[in-house]
Structures are given as C-alpha cells and as structure tokens.
Symmetry: C2
Subunit: 209 residues, 2 copies
C-alpha cells in the first residue's frame, strides 16, 4: 500500500521536472530536486523507489525519462474527461482553469439545475440539465465528476454521478460524501486550509502576549 503522502508528492516532482526540462537540464539529482521543492533528497529517493529504479547511481535521474515515468504512474496519459456539476462562481472558474489542460485533463461538460444557465455556454462548454445526468455523462464520455454545488446538494449529485457510471469524483463541497469504495473520491475543502491558516496566525499572536 502506497501512502497518500507519497502520492501527493508525485505531482510536485512531475511539475518541477517539467520546469527543469524547459531549462534544458538533462539530468537532476535528488539533492537538487529536493532543494527546489523543500523536500529532503532521502524522501524523494524513497518515494521514487516505491515504483521502481529510475535513477543511475553516481549520476542522478534523467529528467525527461523520470518525468514520463511519473506521468504514467499518475495516469496522466489517460487524458481524463471532466464534467463540472454546479456552474456557480467556483464551477465557472474551474471550467476556465488552464492548468488542468497542461496535465491532460479536459472539461467536456457542465451541468446545473438553473434554467437560465442550461443551454448557455461557459468557455465554449455547454451547460446541461442535471436531470439528464446519465445521458450527458455517456454522450460526452465523462470520466470524472467535479462537484461544485452547495453542501446540502452534494450527496444527491454524487449519487447521480455514481448511478451514471462515473469513474472518479473531485468534490469541492464542504461535506462528507458517501460513495461506493471502488469510486475514487478526492475532497478539495478550501475552508480547511483557510481555517488552518487562521489557527497559525492566532498562535503567532498568542506568542506575543
């Protein structure tokens, strides 16, 4: 079983390798990679060793090769297709988010319950009726459902997505979702980070007292 912490560091390695490749640097050591990311070289070697032997002793890692290996481990070559459910401010922002495309994700469909939005387009992507979930997911070949509806509607949307045969769920609603164990679910709860920041800021003040 590979730890969540390790999985979460792989995208950081991947991103940095891309930048290093742009700099025309062909080989990188765990030391240099660690320096760029504030991660210890031992940690990096350990993480990578989980998936195989990608480096050469005494030399380092081939930048392009390691980058490709990581893309494959992360499944980025799948070119996953996303549908965003809930075209509010956040959903709309995600529909326009360019960073996804560079990782091989594309937003192919939007869904909402608002009659005024259905039929319109956001960033050239059509807004469909949530009531047609199943046919929309099938028609656009959607792999990942992105939930950006209010918390109290999120479980209902998750149920619809699962019933429609979605392969994974990316949830931005601040609520615990119940989905079958075989459907990967990642929660993106913005209030956690902001609250944690508030905590640390308060601690600093406390030290002053």
């Amino acid at each position: 079983m590979i730890s969540q912490a390790t999985i979460d560091r792989l995208p950081l390695y991947f991103r940095t390798l891309r930048l290093v490749e742009d700099e025309k640097i062909p080989i990188i050591s765990s030391d240099e990679l660690g320096r760029r990311l504030d991660i210890t070289p031992e940690q990096i070697r350990k993480d990578l060793a989980t998936f195989g032997q990608f480096g050469r002793k005494g030399i380092g890692y081939d930048v392009r090769e390691l980058k490709e290996k990581l893309a494959n481990i992360l499944g980025l070559q799948n070119n996953w297709r996303l549908a965003i459910v809930g075209v509010g401010h956040l959903g709309g922002a995600l529909a326009n988010y360019v960073n996804f495309a560079s990782l091989g994700f594309s937003v192919v469909a939007l869904l909402d319950i608002n009659k005024n939005l259905i039929g319109t387009k956001v960033n050239d992507i059509p807004v469909n009726n949530v009531a047609n979930m199943k046919s929309v997911i099938r028609k656009y070949n959607v792999d990942i459902g992105v939930i950006t509806v209010p918390a109290d509607e999120a479980q209902g949307v998750a149920d619809l997505l699962v019933a429609a045969g979605i392969k994974g769920i990316w949830n931005f609603a601040p609520t615990k979702l119940s989905v079958p164990a075989e459907i990967p679910l990642v929660n993106e709860d913005l209030s956690i980070g902001l609250s944690a920041l508030s905590y640390y800021m308060s601690q600093d003040l406390t030290e002053v007292y």
Copy 2:
C-alpha cells in the same frame, strides 16, 4: 507541537457541530461526531484533549460550547480581512465565495496588474493596482493575502505582500514560495488532488488487467 493532521480536522469538527446545533441537538458524543465524519471517536477525543477537557464523562460534549471553543482555537473570532491578488477566474470566484463569510473571513480588497481591471469592482470589492500594494494593505487593514496569479508571478507577489506587512498567505499558485518563517503560509494546490485522483483511477483500471 500540535500535528498538522489534528489542525486540519478541527474545521471538520467545527462545521459538523454547527450543523448539529442547527438540528437543536444540545449534546453529542465522540461516537456520533465520528459517525458523521468517518473519523474514529478515539481520534476525535485525542484531538480535542490536545487543547483541554471539553467533555463530560458519561455524557458527551455540549454542542454549543465545544463549537465556541473550536472557533476560538482556530482563531475564527479574529474576523480576518483578506486581499486577493490576481483577479482572474479563480480570484474572481474566491471574491464571490460565500462560505468564507460564515467562517468570519471577509474579502476587503482585490489587486491586479491589468489596467482594464483596476478601478472596476468585483462583487462590490474594488480592484486596486498591485503597484500600490503597501498602501492598499494598510488602507483596508488586510491580514491575509490570497495569491491567485500565475505560478511565475507568485513569488514576486509574495515578496510584495510580506514587505507590506501581511500576517498570513493563502497561496493558490502551483509553486513553492519562500517567505519568512514567521509568516504562516498555506498552499492550496488544486493539481495535487486532481493528479492523485487520476492515480487512484488508474490503479483501479490496473487491477482489471
């Protein structure tokens, strides 16, 4: 030293207690709280014990009281004031995000380098020139700087925020920022979660082969 994992669970407890309070339930056990959040009751009791004795043996926790205690531990009573730097799709979405207000955060200023945006308003919040960072931070009494600019501009913005006397940084740019150790920094890297989801989805497929 209190673990990051513990800090990150406190907002979940807080949020659930709010919902429970709305249900007019006066007392809750670690067991019931855990059931609602998919967290073991032992974990919850351990987390809370870090900060004091909030429950009553044989009874449970007073919902309202524990909620207030958590708000105080998290520093939510500070009513932190946010400035968003980078009024693109994500920055604009955050400027409109209602969930923050209910946690006591308010977005009081926006900053951008785009001449066409400077002087306009988003959700009634004026867009200022990044060049005037220091005076804007002072004028609006900003505590937290939110970075929603492209990755290659993020460090520059962070430097400006620090120089302007910001108390904390919430960074959405996918890059490692260097800031003084005394300035709390929380990274909100959306590509990590999405890449992790991709990884888990790929694993599931692998099992089928």
